[in-house]
Symmetry: D2
Subunit: 163 residues, 4 copies
């Protein structure tokens, strides 16, 4: 697909009803805190949003991916690929409207919304408490691909257990 | 129109792409401050949003109403009636998606968004600085009608000018 | 709801992407035949459309109404009430976009589209072959309510069975 | 852009409200005539549609392209590039929803809709009567690019003028 078509589709994807509101929200919100705070708020928003949707039982990775994509398709929020790796599960989220909605300058914090949504959904599936879902640093494909990974959290040895 | 049709249309008006996000935003945001703070933030958001749109030159009230409604129609944010009263200008905003987007429980603060938008637009028209646009307290027609008025701000006599 | 709000919502309901196409279709199509032909084509279109959707098993009237309304809500085509009468089943379809899409002048034939859809869905449920679904003549609530009824087709006594 | 993103955006572009109707229309309509008839009807539909929109004065090719793209953007029907060639004007229409709306199998006739729209708009601009707008045979970029050209119609020499 040509770059101009890609841009056209990206821009049109975000509902015109809320585009200006979301852009204004992004500007005002970004002025209120640092990236860490913004991410924490977006993550929490995501967790709250997640509870509005049912993604099915996640009886298999295939069923889980299908259940999640049914939600994303209905919202027009793109689509996810779930990839199993040796010690983690990768969620590659494509074609989300976040870049257009919140602006390219918000890409350091806006994807924490999806992080919160996925984290909440995986918690709801009764995920092992030692697992943690977090976004990988790199933004790929010019803001069209965000990668999240679910893996065992490596605990820093605490002061007392360290010797 | 039957109540059920009215409810149907109200619910469908709000873009499904952002409905769950806006609802979650409303919940999280409302937990962060009191009504006065929430209104101030929404008012500011409205002012920032306003600058995205051109409402024409406002050469007459009729032209102004038409220019504003062109924006609202495109966004599917309802429609406004501008009514001239003896000492004020009334903006009656009908059929906005705010109640469905932010929830009925947010009606004490969500309409400050429109207040900010209108205030910014009137400032942009070079409005007399002694005029002030503010929302009237009453929410009418079950959250389908918000009323704003633009009038000369009555200054409380200050301590020093009082005798 | 005020008349002006009702009009606003009706107009906005029909997707702007296809509104002009559908209006042009209505004008050109109406010039090609009489009402009976137009209704037959729309009915057939409806039957073809119906097969795109699953309305569930219709295990009860309540389940059937819910299954159908799930489709209508997703398409933003209004909502249906199913009412059981002594010798027929009534389908009252509210808030459809047909009047705005095809124009008020097409109301004599455009609702045959819904007739075809419902007829196909009921056929798919294994409905008794002597039953027939057809639209009642009256258009109600200014094009916002169409009524269909499913009832045993009364056969005109034929020449030979008559005495 | 990845193929899967391209497919995702193409599919989502077509309004869900009318997608099933348009698909059914395409199936039923295609069964009624040969490609020539279908193109003639679509061309006529396009001419009727065109009159719903104002594309400005076409005072320059640049203004014309901008005026047309304003309409396409609002409808989410893609975008056009106007290219001046020695003896013709080329209209390259990208990212239209026609393939998804009417189906890939309708690509032999569905683009006649745009042909009719452009023909009507150019007529409205007071175009030289010897010019004729028609679609070039080739469908490019997998149904994402249709090319129309406006050029002087070469008249076949008739029997009597031939020597």
């Amino acid at each position: 697909m040509s770059t101009k078509n890609a841009e056209y589709y990206e821009i049109q994807q975000c509902s015109i009803q809320w585009k200006a509101f979301l852009k204004a929200f992004s500007v005002e919100f970004a002025s209120k805190g640092d990236v860490k705070d913004l991410r924490a708020f977006m993550h929490q928003l995501g967790r709250t949003m997640a509870s509005e949707f049912s993604i099915g039982d996640g009886s298999s990775l295939f069923a889980l991916e299908a259940g999640i994509n049914k939600v994303w398709l209905q919202l027009n929020w793109g689509w996810v690929e779930i990839i199993e790796e040796v010690d983690s599960l990768i969620l590659a989220h494509h074609a989300s409207p976040l870049k257009v909605a919140f602006g390219p300058e918000a890409l350091s914090w806006s994807p924490a919304l999806l992080e919160g949504i996925y984290a909440q959904w995986f918690d709801g599936l009764g995920m092992d408490k030692t697992l943690r879902l977090s976004q990988r640093d790199t933004i790929l494909e010019d803001g069209q691909l965000f990668v999240y990974e679910l893996k065992k959290q490596v605990e820093e040895p605490s002061y007392f257990t360290r010797r």
